[in-house]
């Protein structure tokens, strides 16, 4: 079935009364100071009211290996921005105004979380499920799960879980610190990790090791420091940096290989 244009299909399902109601709310909120309790109530109403638009737009990308929930969540960021920026006096339909902002957020998500190599969709989806299972089981068990526990939770065989986790290693998530080195603001997760070179002092090969460590990108260097000089587990590092444990493992593997190569060339 060909997809109807988004604005028409969403507005089309809306009754004229509902559209008018949204419009009235936008008019009301325009004159309300943000501190007014009523401002928050109306804002929340408007956001909730337009959630179907986000769901609709997210569904366009349903076959790309990201979970629908994740995409809706990302799209919601766009919706909230749109609600806050919308100027009803300009006479534009809200859905027309909001659609590019929501799509922008969803596309940015894909740009930041691109699959590095082609992975069959089945594996991509499985990978998303397994990552969720890892999160929930880690919370429940208070430790990282085993493959058997993951398999049971995801209703897969051990081999299928291992296969999907291998696929996960081909997945790159560059969003975490895309502008590495250039950020001065202090809102990157890395700013929470203090640089600590003390452990390195005791380390005899530091003369040849230091430049190799310094050659790594900031994030990779931090991960090496946390794992090997601060003895944090991969899961702990993942949580601290807001990335998946599989991603930490992947970055560690690449960094170690790079350091090994450098050592050999010395």
């Amino acid at each position: 079935m060909p997809e109807a244009p988004v604005v028409a299909s969403v507005s089309g399902r809306w009754s004229a009364a509902k559209r008018d109601h949204a419009r009235e709310l936008f008019i009301e909120i325009t004159d309300l100071p943000v501190a007014d309790p009523r401002h928050k109530i109306i804002r929340d109403d408007l956001i909730e009211m337009h959630m179907p638009l986000v769901e609709h737009l997210a569904r366009r990308y349903r076959d790309r290996g990201e979970s629908q929930e994740d995409l809706v969540q990302v799209g919601m960021v766009g919706l909230i921005k749109a609600v806050d920026r919308f100027e009803v006096a300009r006479g534009l339909e809200f859905s027309t105004f909001a659609t590019p902002t929501i799509l922008g957020e969803i596309k940015r998500h894909f740009r930041d979380h691109a699959w590095a190599v082609h992975i069959p969709r089945r594996l991509q989806e499985r990978n998303v499920d397994i990552n969720k299972a890892i999160d929930s089981l880690t919370r429940e068990l208070q430790r990282p799960p085993t493959i058997a526990e993951l398999a049971k939770r995801s209703e897969l065989t051990d081999a299928e879980v291992l296969e999907a986790m291998d696929a996960g290693r081909a997945y790159t998530a560059t969003s975490i610190d895309a502008a590495s080195g250039s950020h001065a603001g202090g809102d990157s997760p890395y700013d929470r990790i203090g640089g600590d070179d003390l452990a390195l002092e005791a380390f005899e090969l530091r003369e040849s090791f230091r430049p190799l460590l310094a050659a790594l990108p900031e994030r990779e260097r931090q991960i090496i420091m946390l794992r090997f000089f601060k003895n944090q587990s991969q899961s702990q590092i993942a949580e601290q940096l807001g990335i998946s444990q599989m991603h930490v493992s992947r970055l560690l593997a690449t960094s170690l290989a790079q350091i090994r190569e450098g050592m050999r060339d010395n």
Binding site: R143, I147, S235, V248, S249, L252, M263
Partner: protein
């Protein structure tokens, strides 16, 4: 570290893998180690660490081997502990130094690492224990 660690295994190994000492073969050892770590019911953190550890151990040996040499990997599970032995007939016949980053990495990734050399054969032993909180 016991420098004279090369000796018979406590029991016959469950799996033995042997391959020519070239970098392209490291992935074989890695995949095998991960699969056996999963079978030992190690946690996913440990499995990932085992992958990195075998990378490091095998790469170390390959650096000190001619391409025609074979690297031998023995995998044995005993009571929730996965023992991995990696050995080869190396050029120097010397066990790896322990004041290197590489050794620090190995020590951080597994519960126990030892190295030994005997008559030109260098061997690394890695032990990874299943946490008591995992019920099998």
């Amino acid at each position: 570290m016991n420098p004279n660690n090369v000796g018979p295994l406590p029991q016959p190994s469950d799996v033995t893998l042997s391959f020519r000492a070239i970098t392209a073969n490291v992935a074989l050892a890695r995949t095998m180690a991960a699969a056996l770590a999963a079978r030992t019911h190690l946690t996913i953190d440990q499995i990932e660490d085992v992958r990195l550890a075998i990378d490091e151990a095998v790469s170390q040996l390959i650096n000190d081997c001619d391409e025609q040499t074979h690297i031998h990997c023995d995998f044995t599970e005993t009571a929730g502990t996965l023992l991995i032995r990696v050995g080869a007939n190396t050029r120097t016949g010397l066990p790896p130094a322990t004041d290197t980053f590489s050794w620090l990495v190995l020590a951080a990734l597994v519960d126990e690492v030892t190295a030994g050399a005997d008559n030109g054969i260098v061997q690394l032993e890695l032990r990874i224990r299943r946490p008591a909180s995992v019920t099998v």
